[in-house]
């Protein structure tokens, strides 16, 4: 009897311990379940604290990112040595390396056109109707071939967000065609009221306006050149034309050898 009593007590003890363990495990499961539910709810309602925690957890270490450039001073702006390129072209041609001869001659043209462009930039006014030239925006672009030719650009800026952008294109076959189109009188047949043909310093020209870009003046000159002025935030056509009149087309024409 005593033996049965001891067994019963042991069973009861084991059962109690087991129930406690099961209860504790159930509690752990419930807690874990509760956390998962909380996370889902937070995610749905975009809880900021949890979001930050999640972001912190998934953020990749900096070392794993692609290497980004943090220094460097760009490309050197050496002016091509025209005489050297002419000598190179001569030598390559003598050796029947025609492709090299052509490449060297192109480099020489590039150097010459850069010089022509820089000379024209120097001849342009520094101030136009209160707008000052922005030297950092000066551009001379030369491809060394007639397809695009030489493009010179200068920007003037001033009060009230006004901007005048001057582009001079030279020795481009496409510009030559544009010039023919302009002088053919085709513009006169349009019924658009936002552009008209005018005379600008003894040249046929076209002036246009639209609300987005403002005023624009195009003047084809010489055999294959064009002078384009674009003005943003000018009050009137007269104000824009007063600015455009500061530029000496004949001087530019002479510098370009047109």
């Amino acid at each position: 009897m005593k033996k049965y009593l001891i067994r019963t007590l042991l069973f009861a003890l084991i059962s109690f311990i087991g129930v406690q363990t099961l209860h504790a495990q159930g509690s752990l499961i419930r807690k874990a379940k509760g956390r998962v539910e909380d996370k889902i709810i937070d995610k749905i309602f975009n809880d900021t604290d949890e979001s930050k925690e999640t972001e912190t957890e998934v953020a990749e270490p900096e070392s794993a990112e692609t290497t980004r450039n943090r220094k460097g001073s760009g490309l050197s702006q050496d002016v091509p040595d025209v005489n050297q390129y002419i000598a190179d072209a001569d030598e390559a041609y003598a050796n029947k390396s025609y492709s090299e001869a052509k490449a060297a001659a192109r480099q020489a043209i590039w150097g010459v056109e850069i010089e022509i462009g820089n000379n024209i930039l120097k001849s342009l006014p520094d101030n136009v109707e209160g707008l000052k030239a922005v030297p950092e925006e000066d551009r001379v672009t030369s491809t060394g071939v007639g397809f695009v030719g030489l493009v010179i650009e200068r920007v003037y800026q001033g009060k009230d967000d006004m901007e005048l952008r001057v582009n001079i294109g030279n020795d481009a076959a496409l510009l030559g065609m544009a010039g023919m189109y302009m002088v053919s009188g085709m513009y006169q047949s349009t019924d658009e009221t936002n552009q008209k043909q005018i005379r600008f310093k003894d040249h046929n020209a076209t002036i246009s306006y639209d609300d987005y870009d403002g005023y624009s003046l195009g003047v084809p000159f010489g055999q294959s050149s064009i002078f384009v002025v674009k003005g943003a935030n000018f009050e009137t056509e007269a104000q824009f034309m007063a600015a455009a009149n500061h530029f000496d087309i004949d001087r530019i024409k002479k510098d370009l050898g047109e």
Partner: protein
């Protein structure tokens, strides 16, 4: 006959000499103009020099073009070299094959043209595959576009082979089979042309 050969050789030598002298003269003029500060004359002389160099490149390409295409022999009088130095096309070389009958072919090389570089991109576009009259083929190791045209004059084929900024075009008329055309295209020395025309 000896006199004729001598005259031809002399004429060729003279032509080559004039050509070489032109380039050297233009480069010399460019140099002297530049040193005297005349930039416009320098540019003009350099452009002329490039024009002459283009002619020399065209002559080299002409030398390596096939003298026959299939059964068709080339027509010497139709050989043409044009140098523009305008940037649209540096050198234009063309050669024709065949007689006056309806079967003939022509080969054109247009080099140094920035606009033609786009042909390579066009070849990669899938819409070209969907056109039943066009198909991509290989000529040597180069991709090419084969186009068939049928009209009241018969069948004609065009094979266009773009190599960087150079376009080689074979046009045939009166040749019926694709196989014959691709065999003709296979005789074009694309590698050598590309070497000169680059």
């Amino acid at each position: 006959m000896k006199n004729l050969i001598f005259t031809l050789v002399f004429a060729c030598t003279l032509a080559a000499g004039l050509n070489a002298q032109d380039v050297n003269a233009q480069l010399s003029e460019a140099k002297s103009s530049y040193n005297s500060g005349d930039l416009q004359s320098t540019r003009f002389a350099l452009q002329q020099a490039i024009n002459e160099i283009d002619k020399a490149i065209g002559a080299e390409i002409m030398k390596i073009l096939p003298t026959s295409m299939g059964d068709l022999s080339f027509i010497e009088s139709s050989d043409n070299i044009t140098a523009t130095s305008s940037g649209f096309a540096g050198v234009f070389v063309s050669r024709s094959y065949g007689a006056e009958d309806e079967t003939n072919a022509s080969l054109q090389v247009i080099s140094d043209s920035p606009m033609l570089a786009g042909v390579n991109a066009l070849l990669a576009m899938p819409m070209f595959v969907s056109d039943p009259s066009q198909k991509k083929i290989k000529v040597g190791s180069y991709r090419a576009l084969l186009q068939k045209t049928e009209d009241e004059n018969g069948v004609s084929w065009d094979v266009q082979i773009p190599v960087r900024s150079t376009l080689i075009t074979l046009h045939t008329t009166g040749i019926d089979t694709e196989k014959a055309v691709t065999e003709m295209a296979g005789t074009i020395p694309v590698d050598q042309i590309a070497k000169f025309a680059q």
